[in-house]
Each structure stands twice: as structure tokens, then as C-alpha cells.
């Protein structure tokens, strides 16, 4: 032991640590996991997209703080029901000096649409876009397969450089070196990427003034710190300026800290219980309604997320311009019991568990143990449903196992969450009859309701925003009645942010979306 102590003193004494002068100071962001690729065409990883879309690339359109579409690489557009023509900026350049042109945009579009590429970008944005046609060096036309709602949302993705990616076999695009050494067009460029350690970014001096000009902070280090305790300590010590995904139970530790504050903002993720509507227990909508009313969702939100979330009724986030703002079903165990009794579920043998035709109301609730809040949630749900006479067997398993069983619809009920990968309202993958009949689709509850189907068709097809808003309100009312899911809450996202930073605004567009505007305290804004 004395030897160790001596070594500690010797080695500890000779280090200054910390960062350099204010101007050249590197901004350090701490995240739990390394990214997989920085090529937007093949990226499957939302964290990577949140970093590269706003910082490394220039999407055609962007979003303002109210989540409305705004021009970005596209200066302006002419929109009709069948096509859109974009005028692109001529002052945006690839980080190797070549200009970004309509050819790059068309190349990216064709590459993503090629089935061999298996591009998640195409799946998220391009389902209703048919073809692209270059009209000039900075002019491009996209044709839609049919008129649809929110057509400009189809273009919130960035082009990749044609001159660097041309000729690569789309099936092996993911393995191309470009993914780890990207050449983008955004306000930052990648200096180096050391796997499992850090991705170092540097501001691009020539970034066009019309898009905000060069970022105020010159160097940004995206550091990989898997252990939450380590991350939080680094933040409190001042060696880290943003602690990315902060767990709710860590939030109190930031209270009263002189170094850091808590950022709490709406996010794109909701937590829900999915009922397998093909299971005889959950076939009846009134039973599913009773289950929802027997679960005190607000208590769950307070206990597991310490209130950092919002009530949920359906899949349209409360901050979305189309959000219908309905009230969720109330927490009302008595009405739940009455509904269950009407459906034939009564405790006839006096064992405290409801039964029907001699079969007790008992089911297994599947959940991933990897999620920090799920074990607690499952226990609370078990206790709350127990009070109305329903027995829950928790099944906490490894994430992949849960996912493959959920996907194969080999479950009774599952506690999980859903993350939006774009801001378009399109619940069809989750709730349409078509998806219900497609094996492996996201409608794993096999929910099917012809009225909901036609409402989703109208909502996603109409180009009239007012009509769309009304349609979604009716759709969510139907969901509230049918309860294919028990929506528990919309999760807020939390982050620890150093007080050394100014201008940090975080919202559902992504934690790092406004990073080019951040500056060190006392530094002039850009």
C-alpha cells in the first residue's frame, strides 16, 4: 500500500490537466457509445445522425425551434402536389474544396433509393419520392409518387459527395473508408476518429455566412465514456462540458453544482406497453382500456423519470405542430374493474385473481433489462395491476432477446419504447392493417382497425395542414379507445451542461443541433 500511495503522489503531482486558453479551448462532449459510421446514407444509428446532420453535413432543409421546415442547402423551392423544385445554395463546399451541386444531391438520392444499398435514410425520408432530375448546377426537381402531407419533410437529409463515392458497390458502401473518414459540407469537419475513444471535430472557417458562418467553438471532442458515474464526475470536475444521455436518477446530483446545470427538453421517444392483440387475453379493446386505466401512468413517470416526461395519448409528440393535445384515459381502477367485469373477468374462486371460464387473468410482461428504468417500471405495473386482480409475470431479458421475440410477435405484452427518426407524422408502420399482415413489421401488436387505416391514409395524403391536424385528432381518439398500446409517457431527454458554455439550446431536433451557436462564457457570439 505505501508503494501505491507514493506512486500516486509522484504521478499525480506532475500533471496540470484541464484545457488550454479560452480561445483555443476544446469543447468535450461525453457519450456512452461510439458511433458506427458517419455516412448518412447507410447510418442506422440515431446518435450518429444527430451529430452528422447538423454538424458535418448540410441537409436540403432544416427545422426551426417550432419544428417548422426552413431553407438550408436549398435556398428556396417551388412546391406542387406532384413535384418540388429546389434552388440550391451555390456557396456551400465539400471539405475538400469542391462545390456542392445538384449532381451530388441526385447521386445521394439515387444511391439511397437503390435497394442494394439498404439505406435507412431512404426508409425514413424517401418512401413518397419517386425520382430526381438535375435541372441545372444548383437546381433539382424531385417527383412524388403521389400527393402527400408535409412533403418538404422528405428532404431533411444531407447529400454526400458524388466525386468520392461514385463507383462503390452499393452493397458494400457501409464498409467504405468514407464512413470513418467522411468529407462533409457542414460547419465542422472530422479531424480524427479513434475507435472507442473520441471523434475530434474542427470548425470549418469557410462555412457560408448565410448559414451562420464559422462556428464559435473551434474544436469539439466527442468522447466515448461508457460508465455513467465516470461521465458525471468528469462533468462535475470540469473536464467535460456536456454529459450526453443523463439518466434521470442522476439529475439531482447536478442540483447546486457551480460547474454544471441540468438541461431538460422534449424528445422523440415514448415508452409504452404493447399488447399482443392476437392473444385471447388482449383481443377485446375494452379489456385493453381497463388495463390502461388500472395503470397510474403519472405515478410511473414521477417514480422512474422523476417527472422528466410528458403524458402520452398517441404516437404524435406533444411538441409537434400537428399534436392533437387529447387527455389520456384517466387512472381509475374502479372503472377498470367494472370494464373487466363487463368483459366477463370476475374473481369467482376468491383467490384475488380475476378469472373467466376457469382461466385466470395472468400474463407475462416482456422487457429489456438493459434499460435503466424498466425493472422498476415492470415492478410498479405488476403491483398496480395486482390491485385490480391481474397477475403479471415479469420477464426481464437481454435486449436482443426481447427485440427478436417482439419482432416475431412471440409475446403477450411488452414494455418498450419507440423512437421517431423523422418529424413526419406517419403512424402507418406502427398501426396499419397492412403492417399488421407484414411479418417483421413494426406493427408487432397486430393492431388492425379499418377506420384507423382510412384516417391514416387521409392524414398522410392530404396536402392541407388544417385537414391533416383534424384527421390526426380523430385518429388519436380512436387509438385512445382501442388502446393497442398503453402509452405511458413521452420521455424527456436530459443532459448535464457546463456553466462555462453560453447559448446552449437543446430540443427534440437533437442535443447538438445548435452547437455551431454555442460559445464559451465571455466569448463573443458568432
Amino acid at each position: 500500500m505505501p508503494v501505491v500511495a507514493a506512486a500516486l503522489v509522484v504521478v499525480g503531482a506532475c500533471g496540470g490537466g484541464g484545457a488550454g486558453q479560452a480561445g483555443s479551448r476544446t469543447l468535450v462532449l461525453g457519450y456512452a457509445e461510439d458511433l458506427q459510421t458517419l455516412d448518412p446514407v447507410v447510418s442506422t444509428d440515431q446518435n450518429a445522425n444527430d451529430l452528422m446532420y447538423p454538424l458535418l453535413y448540410t441537409p436540403l432543409v432544416t427545422y426551426d425551434t417550432a419544428y417548422r421546415v426552413r431553407p438550408w442547402l436549398a435556398r428556396s423551392w417551388t412546391l406542387s402536389d406532384s413535384d418540388v423544385v429546389f434552388e440550391l445554395r451555390s456557396d456551400v463546399r465539400w471539405q475538400d474544396g469542391k462545390p456542392v451541386t445538384a449532381e451530388d444531391v441526385k447521386f445521394t438520392f439515387d444511391l439511397a433509393k437503390d435497394p442494394a444499398t439498404a439505406s435507412p435514410l431512404a426508409a425514413a425520408y424517401l418512401t413518397d419520392v419517386d425520382s430526381a432530375e438535375v435541372l441545372g448546377p444548383h437546381r433539382i426537381r424531385f417527383r412524388f409518387s403521389e400527393p402527400h402531407a408535409e412533403p418538404l419533410q422528405d428532404f431533411a437529409w444531407p447529400p454526400v459527395p458524388k466525386h468520392l463515392l461514385e463507383g462503390i458497390d452499393p452493397a458494400h458502401l457501409a464498409d467504405a473508408p468514407f464512413g470513418r473518414r467522411p468529407v462533409g459540407s457542414g460547419p465542422y469537419r472530422v479531424v480524427r476518429w479513434e475507435a472507442g475513444q473520441e471523434i475530434l471535430l474542427e470548425a470549418v472557417d469557410s462555412f457560408p455566412a448565410a448559414l451562420g458562418g464559422p462556428a464559435a467553438i473551434g474544436r469539439v471532442s466527442y468522447r466515448i465514456l461508457p460508465e455513467a458515474t465516470t461521465r458525471l464526475q468528469e462533468l462535475l470536475r470540469g473536464d467535460l462540458q456536456v454529459d450526453g444521455p443523463l439518466e434521470p436518477q442522476e439529475a439531482p446530483r447536478l442540483e447546486g453544482s457551480k460547474r454544471a446545470r441540468l438541461a431538460d427538453f422534449p424528445w422523440r421517444q415514448f415508452t409504452y406497453i404493447g399488447w399482443n392483440t392476437r392473444d385471447s387475453l388482449f383481443r377485446d379493446p375494452s379489456v385493453r382500456r381497463a388495463l390502461t386505466m388500472a395503470i397510474d401512468r403519472n405515478a410511473l413517470l414521477q417514480a422512474t423519470l422523476y417527472g422528466h416526461g410528458r403524458p402520452a395519448v398517441g404516437p404524435i409528440p406533444p411538441w409537434h405542430p400537428y399534436a392533437p393535445h387529447l387527455q389520456p384515459l384517466p387512472y381509475d381502477p374502479d372503472s377498470a374493474r367494472a370494464l373487466l367485469a363487463r368483459a366477463g373477468w370476475r374473481d369467482t374462486d376468491g383467490d384475488g385473481i380475476l378469472d373467466r371460464h376457469g382461466v385466470p387473468f395472468r400474463f407475462r410482461l416482456l422487457a429489456s433489462q438493459a434499460n435503466a428504468t424498466f425493472p422498476d417500471l415492470v415492478q410498479m405495473i405488476q403491483a398496480q395491476l395486482g390491485k385490480v386482480g391481474i397477475e403479471v409475470d415479469p420477464e426481464l431479458l437481454e435486449w436482443q432477446t426481447v427485440l427478436s421475440r417482439h419482432r416475431a410477435r412471440n409475446f403477450e405484452a411488452v414494455l418498450t419504447n419507440w423512437v421517431l427518426d423523422n418529424f413526419r407524422v406517419d403512424p402507418r408502420p406502427l398501426f396499419s392493417t397492412r403492417a399488421a399482415n407484414t411479418p417483421g413489421s413494426a406493427n408487432r401488436s397486430s393492431y388492425s382497425n379499418p377506420v384507423a387505416d382510412s384516417l391514416m391514409e387521409v392524414g398522410t395524403r392530404t396536402s392541407d395542414p388544417e385537414r391533416a391536424r383534424r384527421t390526426w385528432a380523430v385518429f388519436e381518439e380512436i387509438l385512445r379507445r382501442d388502446q393497442p398500446f398503453t402509452f405511458l409517457f413521452w420521455n424527456d431527454e436530459l443532459a448535464g451542461v457546463s456553466r462555462d458554455l453560453e447559448g446552449v439550446h437543446m430540443d427534440a431536433r437533437g442535443e447538438l443541433f445548435t452547437l455551431p451557436d454555442w460559445r464559451w462564457t465571455g466569448q463573443a457570439s458568432r
Partner: protein, 327 residues
């Protein structure tokens, strides 16, 4: 000795082949595959199907296995599914980091363990012996990850962090590239302090117990009494005669601790954000990154086999009674 080593290495080939084959089978028995590991649930089934085709996962398992063997024997190891680059590059980044961490821990384990053991044996039943025994047992019982977290909280505490600004994560500081040569060495050393302690301290405590026992046994031997009777100074008796013989059984511990160390790096690398093999393997298993898991298991297996061989050879080298090539 050479013939013996050759025989052992030849014998290791079927063993390692067995290890990778078993790993391959177990990996594919586990639910899910690399495409289901993607967190984004919105990707439609036909896109996922195409991804599986692009990764070659739609082919029958025996074909995939033979394909892997072929790529293995050509030294290529395939592409990592989750890092999208050659597995050789992935391992090439991580392996040196783990070897550095576990190599230095190994030195710490044996130097510290032996020193403590000798002190205890020489002053058997003294206060120092009792305190060290208690400490060793306490440290030995502490799980590495907990010790790691406690060390992080300790050096980050307001009292200590002022004068002892030890890094708690990563391998180098943010300003590493601006430091001079000596500055860089010191920077790396500072980053090693906590992980090495967390990884090695428990094993050092174990070695101390072995060393104490071994030393006590030797000190009771006739030749030690003879040495003392000749009037040799106590220092030479202990360090020159007793220690050399007491070290013999400790050498064989080396081989035993090697796999233990590699196992320990998984947790320690996670806690201290050390980009090494343990964390790589752990993440690769979660992501079902088959090529990386296969290559990493093979390497761990090979290192353990080599470590054991090394220990046996060292044993023969230090103990003239042990001979491997029969005569």
C-alpha cells in the same frame, strides 16, 4: 525445451480451433443478429433483409463458418459489422491498449504482492503482518468495478482533486498532442494509475498471500538454518537464499493470473473508458458483431495458451528440477 514448446504449440491448434468453432455456434444460437441490434426500430423489414444479404448473413451457417475460416487463414478476419472497417484494424487499435494496461498491472501485481508477502513472512505474527493480512483479505474481496468507481469518486472529491488531479477516463488528455515527449509519457502514466490499481490490486493481494506462505515454508528449511549458522547477514539470507526459492511456485501463478487479468479488463475498461479488447469484445457481443467476437475470442484464447506455456517454460528455467524434454 524447443521440442517441448513446439509440441505444446501444435497441441494448441486443435484447442483454438475448438474454441472458435464453439464460439461460432454459441454466437449463432443467441437470439438476434447484427441487423436487429440496430437501435432504430423504424427500419422496415425489406431493408433489414437487404442488410442481411449485404453482410452475407442470408447464407447457410456452414457456408458462413467455412467463409470465416478461409478469411481467418488468409489473415484478413473480415469486416466489423458495427465499426464498418476491417477486423484487423479494429483489433489492431484495441489490443495494444489492453496489453499495456494488463502488462503494467501484472508488474504491479507481482512486485507489490511479493514485497508484501516477504515482509509478512519475515515478521510473522507482527503487527505489520496482521495489518497486511487484514488489508490483503479486504482488498481481495472487493470487486474490481466497485473499487474502480470508489477510486473515481475518491480522486474527484473536493479534498483530493485540488492537489491530485488524476484523470479518471480515457488514455490521454485532451491537450495530449500539444505536450512535449516527456509530457506525453507523463500524461499516459497518469491515465494508467487508477485503472492499473483497480485491475491489479486484488490480484496483488492474492499473490501476497501465496508469497507469504511460500516464504514461510522456505524459511523453515535446513539450508536457511545453515546459511544463518555460517553467519551470513540476515539480508542476504532472506533475499539471496530464501526469496529465490520461495519465488518458484509464484512463477506458475503468472500463467494463472493472465486469463484472470484479461477477464478483469472487460469491467475496468468500461469503468475507465479504456479503449481496449475487453470493452471491444463486450460491445461486439451486444451488437452481434460476429467477425469481431470471433477474432477477439481467438486472440484471448491464444494469449491464455501462450501465457500458460510461458509460465511452464519459466518454471523450468528457474527450477533445475523441472525438465520437459525427457532424458
Amino acid at each position: 525445451m524447443l521440442r517441448y514448446s513446439g509440441r505444446r504449440l501444435l497441441g494448441a491448434i486443435p484447442l483454438l480451433l475448438g474454441i472458435v468453432t464453439l464460439t461460432f455456434i454459441l454466437l449463432h444460437l443467441a437470439p438476434g443478429d447484427p441487423t436487429t441490434a440496430y437501435f432504430n426500430p423504424n427500419i422496415p423489414p425489406d431493408v433489414i433483409e437487404q442488410m442481411r444479404r449485404n453482410l452475407g448473413l442470408d447464407r447457410p451457417l456452414p457456408v458462413q463458418y467455412l467463409d470465416w475460416l478461409r478469411s481467418f487463414f488468409t489473415g484478413h478476419f473480415g469486416y466489423s459489422f458495427s465499426q464498418h472497417r476491417p477486423v484487423a484494424a479494429v483489433i489492431g487499435d484495441a489490443l495494444p491498449n489492453t496489453l499495456l494496461l494488463s502488462g503494467i498491472s501484472l508488474v504491479l501485481i507481482f512486485v507489490l504482492g511479493c514485497a508484501a508477502g516477504v515482509v509478512q513472512a519475515v515478521r510473522q505474527y507482527s503487527a505489520a503482518d496482521q495489518v497486511l493480512t487484514l488489508l490483503a483479505l479486504a482488498i481481495y474481496s472487493v470487486p474490481g468495478f466497485w473499487l474502480g468507481l470508489m477510486l473515481i469518486l475518491l480522486v474527484s472529491s473536493p479534498v483530493l482533486s485540488g492537489w491530485l488531479h488524476l484523470p479518471i477516463s480515457g488514455m490521454v488528455s485532451i491537450d495530449h498532442e500539444y505536450l512535449g515527449w516527456w509530457g506525453r509519457v507523463a500524461d499516459r502514466a497518469r491515465h494508467l494509475v487508477l485503472p492499473v490499481i483497480a485491475l491489479g490490486l486484488a490480484s496483488a493481494a492474492g499473490v501476497a498471500r501465496y508469497m507469504r506462505g511460500s516464504m514461510l515454508e522456505v524459511v523453515g528449511q535446513d539450508y536457511i538454518r545453515t546459511a544463518r549458522a555460517k553467519g551470513l547477514p540476515e539480508r542476504r539470507v532472506i533475499l539471496g537464499h530464501a526469496l529465490r526459492n520461495a519465488l518458484l511456485p509464484i512463477v506458475s501463478l503468472l500463467g494463472l493470473y493472465l486469463p484472470l487479468l484479461f477477464g478483469g479488463t472487460v469491467v475496468i475498461e468500461y469503468v475507465f473508458s479504456w479503449p481496449g479488447m475487453g470493452r471491444l469484445l463486450y460491445n461486439a457481443i451486444l451488437a452481434r458483431d460476429y467477425p469481431v467476437v470471433m477474432a477477439a475470442t481467438f486472440l484471448f484464447g491464444a494469449l491464455v495458451v501462450l501465457g500458460n506455456l510461458l509460465a511452464d517454460l519459466l518454471y523450468a528455467a528457474v527450477d533445475p528440477r523441472v525438465r520437459y524434454d525427457g532424458r
